[in-house]
Amino acid sequence: MSDLEPPPGPDEAELPLVGEAPLANAARRPGPPLWLLMELTYRCPLHCVFCYNPTEFATSGPELATDDWLRVLREARALGAVQLGLSGGEPLARDDLEVIVAEAHSLGFYTNLITSGVGMTEPRIAALKRAGLDHIQLSFQDSSREMNDFLSSTRTFELKAKVAALIKQYEYPMVLNVVLHRHNLDHVQEILELAERIGAEYVELANTQYYGWAWLNRERLMPSREQLRRAEATLERFRAQPGQKMKIFFVVPDYFERRPKACMNGLGSVFLTVTPDGTALPCHAARMLPGLAFPNVRTESVRSIWYDSEAFNRFRGDDWMKEPCRSCPEKTRDFGGCRCQAYLLTGDPANADPVCDLSPHHHLVTEAVAAADAWESGRNQEGEKGLVFRDHRISIPVVVVGQEARSKRGAGI
């Protein structure tokens, strides 16, 4: 799945902010992996340009078998894991999804299916309901069929609308996720209207975070400041409408901030991701981090992975920090930001996240935003280069469609 963000949510209710998590980041025995994300497969019928999956996913090893996943569930639950995300790829591509959900439910997990909806049918949703699935998050790429299909490089919009109806029919809370970027940020009004039409109770408007395929496409996805300002104004107007009941979460793109996000509440603090081939990661993007041998659930227990492995301990506490983080009073709040972003932008994952304006590399972030501003005013030709669609057949696929994207945007679809 392309659209898994750190859990959304209002203020104190957000999982990483509650419980023992902040203390767990201190240099002592960490708390439990409260959040388990199982990426069941990298197979996905979509080809989203903002997918965070690794660009080399096609070279990943064989997928874990059903019994392996069931063992991961039992071991993680025994440590205290309680929120379960089932993602991918498209998790519905696994025909044992119902078996996995049933085991998770019986163990006491709160089970969240994070899906594009492709592969969902009435018999399957009925079986998932019986198995005890608690929640379905459905992603849309945009409000219109044209943009939805274009940005995911498929024809799936009407199918998604049908799945939305099934979700309502089976009395699930309706959580709609839309990943935002320059090609759809001006459609926030239409997206919210669509959400209302299909009966969404929660809407996550998640600005693209630049990892995986999204990193590859960063110059073609980054919105301008002006676009962001317009979208926020639209959102304010929408929220202020009388009788408006949806809970709308707007995840601000961190490139536009001056302080970094408290990414994963600090690596190794609450999140445990297991990828399709069984590799355990402290964050779903962390496989890119250099110099770490990530353990695999095929050969190690979840307990030893979480508590004892070098990969999970490396960025716990603050001994790993460099200046300006090391002496910064805010390090207990944001943990220096995102390790992956620090690595992608500066080449060293122990540097401060360059989103922070105290970072000596902050100019790398402001320059990326300036390039988007220049694109908005039509001066920068970078935006004309092709978007790269997630595709298993090629490791660096290039499909030149930038021109089309702009003309669609210009037409105000």
Binding site: P7, P8, G9, P10, E12, A13, E14, L15, V18, G19, E20, P32, L34, L79, G80, V82, Q83, G85, G108, Y110, N112, D134, H135, Q137, E171, Y172, P173, V175, Y202
Partner: protein, 92 residues
């Protein structure tokens, strides 16, 4: 914040689940992709919200269990807050 009728019967909201977590030594309220760790008073109230007992019943039950009186206003305030957050719904 809406007034809470003491004859109303609160029940844990749709999509939410209350459960005891030994690893956290606390009751937690689970909901889509999130969790709230409850303190003991919140847990005492929420765990009695079964859609059968009224707010008045819940107050009486907690006062009896803990041997105290005068909790009605606090319980009503919590129920009102929890309703705002959709943690609780009112039956009837």
């Amino acid at each position: 914040m809406s007034e809470i009728d003491e004859h109303g019967k609160p029940v844990v909201g749709r999509g939410f689940r209350l459960q005891w977590e030994p690893a956290q030594d606390a009751h937690v309220l689970l909901y889509p992709e999130g969790m709230v760790k409850l303190n003991s008073s919140a847990a005492a109230i929420m765990s009695r919200c079964d859609g059968v007992r009224t707010v008045a019943d819940i107050v009486a039950d907690i006062e009896r269990s803990y041997g105290v009186t005068g909790l009605a206003a606090d319980v009503r305030a919590f129920v009102a807050m929890a309703r705002e957050k959709s943690w609780l719904e009112m039956k009837e």
